[in-house]
């Protein structure tokens, strides 16, 4: 939408209303992380700024377009809207974006079939001319998260939007993530030149290897190559699809007859948040004794050379295929990431290779489910895949079920399973949010459109038999067996049968080298049950005794409940309970009254003074007249 007054500041104040579902709250925070990674837009809890976004559970999913300067601007994430791309979509509206197919040049790219649109719903296919809406010199985007799907507002089964390039007919309407052009437009509109959490991405295509350096404290160097005779035969970024490109870094330990190390160090990096996620692909072509150590070279104020701190040792690296690894770092000072290949003497040839490194100040997924030879399962009647068992940080054991049997859609479900800690855990399992992500394996983290869904365990949820759905699996689950024959209990699954269409699954880089990765995170979100600020039981108790008027919000500061009062550009509420209203107009009236009063007072003082002086002189003059008269009478 054209107009600077519709823009928000780069950091948008927000309030997550208590009406929101727990799962929605977690999803909204995840959506904010995508903004932080890919744009310069940040979000902060509202602290009394004139304008802010109130995210609440209204009826449906909706938003206003742009900053309307309402003070409190509502954005609804209602039932079934708790999907990350839906939240991204609604916040793009709030940031000033219309739908993609409403732009002025849309008829060049799509045909709107008016007689297939429900009667009275034609207004949904508005088009704005270029005095109202600006596409910022970005081409029409079929892949935009802001585009309608082909079935939008249809009165039958035929599509209401037909793309002029037929290949895009099933592309429009994706609700996975920002497209490249969504990001280009947003970053142009808000003059973004960097993001808050992205640090580096390297696929080694350029000869400068992203500024990485060979250490002088080792025995050998890593080499930039496009293939190795003992493997890998090609890189991971483009899987060797382009002759003359597709490079990776290789540590050749085939000639080594003693323990040998080779260190590759990243350029200097400057953290902002204090936690980082390092992601890379690793290939082992030698033997199981090969090892990769990850260090951080930390440059504290009094250590100019940097001290080398070990983060993790990666051992037992599978041989003969690219493997995805995540490593959590906690750098707070200037630092470098150090990849140390460690080779033990041995007769076999080969070595270690790394490719597609991404470093960002985000949280790493807790678990990675790597599915090899994936295509054989798609649409197969036997396409029911169960992940290995995983444990959450709280100790809950769980498993993921991927349903590939359908010919159109892929389903994904989360199951609690019996585990070693069950007797020490709380049941029914309360407020654990599980995020399941089908990874788009684009080499650059900023260009990925990963497909993600989250579900949350509600301890009060009842199943069809009247049992608590999230109760202990040994109580409510069914007997199942691991491939090694071990018996366990598996509770009912909770998820979706329409996680992604098979057509989309086959697009982008979801499948790469016939490998698929499902990233899993299970975290406790019970702290989100009440907001503003992050609650504790005492926060709830203190605020329960305080009622803030006029949409003020109760917060706890220094163990004392206080009301944060709303304010606008020229008005504000004040008082202990936001009960009094102030405005610029009031101030002007007070100032003008004060000036008038002072002026009046000064006038009175002046008049009195003049009066007194005149009276004094008049008296003096009259007494002089008498004297003169006497003198004159005497003289004449």
């Amino acid at each position: 939408i054209i107009g600077d007054n519709y823009r928000w500041p780069h950091t948008i104040p927000y309030v997550l209303d208590d009406t929101l579902e727990m799962n929605a709250k977690g999803v909204i925070l995840e959506a904010f992380e995508r903004y932080r990674l890919k744009t310069c837009i940040d979000f902060k809890p509202w602290a009394g700024e004139p304008n802010y976004v109130l995210v609440f559970k209204g009826s449906g999913c909706w938003s206003s377009v742009g900053n309307r300067h309402f003070g409190k601007q509502e954005l609804s994430i209602g039932t079934n809207c708790d999907r990350i791309a839906t939240v991204q979509h609604e916040f793009l509206h709030a940031l000033g974006f219309w739908h993609e197919q409403s732009r002025s040049d849309r008829d060049d790219y799509v045909m709107i079939v008016w007689d297939r649109i429900q009667s009275g719903r034609e207004h949904n296919f508005n088009m704005y001319n270029d005095t109202v809406s600006d596409s910022l010199n970005v081409p029409y985007d079929y892949t935009s998260v802001m585009h309608y799907s082909k079935t939008a507002f249809q009165n039958g089964t035929e599509p209401t939007i037909v793309t002029r390039i037929s290949d895009f007919e099933d592309v429009i309407g994706q609700r996975m993530d920002f497209s490249d052009y969504d990001l280009l437009k947003l970053n142009r509109l808000y003059n973004c030149s960097s993001s808050l959490t992205f640090m580096d991405s390297c696929n080694f295509e350029l000869e400068n290897v992203c500024g990485m350096i060979q250490s002088s404290e080792d025995d050998l160097d890593w080499q930039r190559v496009s293939q190795v005779s003992g493997g890998p035969e090609n890189d991971h970024s483009i899987m060797g699809q382009c002759k003359g490109s597709g490079f990776f870094m290789h540590f050749d330990s085939s000639s080594v007859d003693t323990e040998t190390i080779a260190r590759l160090e990243s350029r200097l990096l400057y953290p902002k948040r204090g936690f980082q996620c390092l992601e890379f692909y690793l290939y082992n072509s030698r033997n199981e004794n090969e090892q990769l150590n990850i260090y951080v070279r930390d440059y504290s104020a009094d250590d100019q050379n940097g001290s080398l701190n070990i983060v993790t040792e990666i051992k037992e690296i599978p041989i003969g295929s690219w493997q995805l690894y995540y490593v959590t770092l906690q750098a707070t000072n200037k630092f470098r990431v150090v990849f140390e290949g460690l080779s033990i003497a041995g007769a076999s040839s080969g070595g270690l290779s790394i490719d597609d490194i991404n470093l960002s100040e985000t949280r790493c997924p807790h678990h990675v489910w790597h599915i090899e030879n994936f295509t054989q399962f798609i649409g197969n009647p036997n396409g029911s895949l169960y992940s290995p068992p995983f444990y959450s940080s709280k100790g809950y054991a769980f498993q993921i079920y991927l349903d590939l049997k359908s010919l159109t859609n892929v389903g994904i479900y989360f199951h609690l399973i019996s585990g070693a800690n069950d007797d020490e855990l709380e049941w029914p399992c309360p407020w654990q949010q599980v995020t399941m992500t089908l990874l788009d394996q684009n080499p650059d983290i900023r260009q990925r459109m990963s497909n993600q869904r989250s579900v949350t365990t509600d301890p009060s949820m009842i199943d069809d038999n009247g049992n608590y759905f999230w109760d202990k699996p040994s109580k409510v689950g069914q007997v199942a067996f691991f491939p090694n024959g071990t018996q366990f209990h598996r509770s009912g699954g909770y998820g979706t049968s329409v996680f992604i269409t098979q057509e989309r699954l086959k697009s982008r880089d979801f499948m790469k080298g016939n490998d698929v990765y499902i990233l899993l995170t299970m975290e406790d979100i019970s702290h989100l049950s009440s907001t503003n600020p992050v609650p504790t039981s005492s926060v709830n108790d203190l605020c329960s005794e305080v009622t803030c008027e006029n949409d003020g919000i109760c917060t706890v500061q220094n163990d004392k409940a206080e009301c944060r009062c709303p304010a606008g550009k020229d008005w504000w509420y004040m008082g202990e309970r936001c009960e009094k209203k102030g405005s610029v107009r009031d101030t002007i009236v007070i100032a003008a009254s004060s000036i008038a009063a002072v002026f009046g007072l000064m006038l009175i003082v002046t008049l009195v003074s003049v009066y007194c002086v005149r009276r004094k002189y008049r008296k003096k003059t009259s007494s002089n007249t008498v004297k003169t008269s006497m003198e004159n009478s005497y003289a004449f």
């Binding site: 449906g60 909706w62 938003s63 206003s64 719903r121 207004h123 079935t151 759905f469 998820g495 269409t501």
Partner: protein, 45 residues
């Protein structure tokens, strides 16, 4: 062993509802499906 079909709960009931479908099912007739216009939630109102 595979889990029986009825041992999973599908939160989408087998339908991939887009934003506009969700709003329509609720009887909303928002501007362009999901846009609130100047404080008026309903386009007609």
């Amino acid at each position: 062993l595979p889990t029986p079909e009825d041992f999973v709960k599908d939160i989408d009931n087998g339908i991939d509802q887009d934003i506009f479908d969700i709003n329509q099912d609720l009887g909303l007739d928002l501007f362009e499906g999901d846009i609130r216009v100047d404080g008026a939630q309903d386009r007609n109102s």
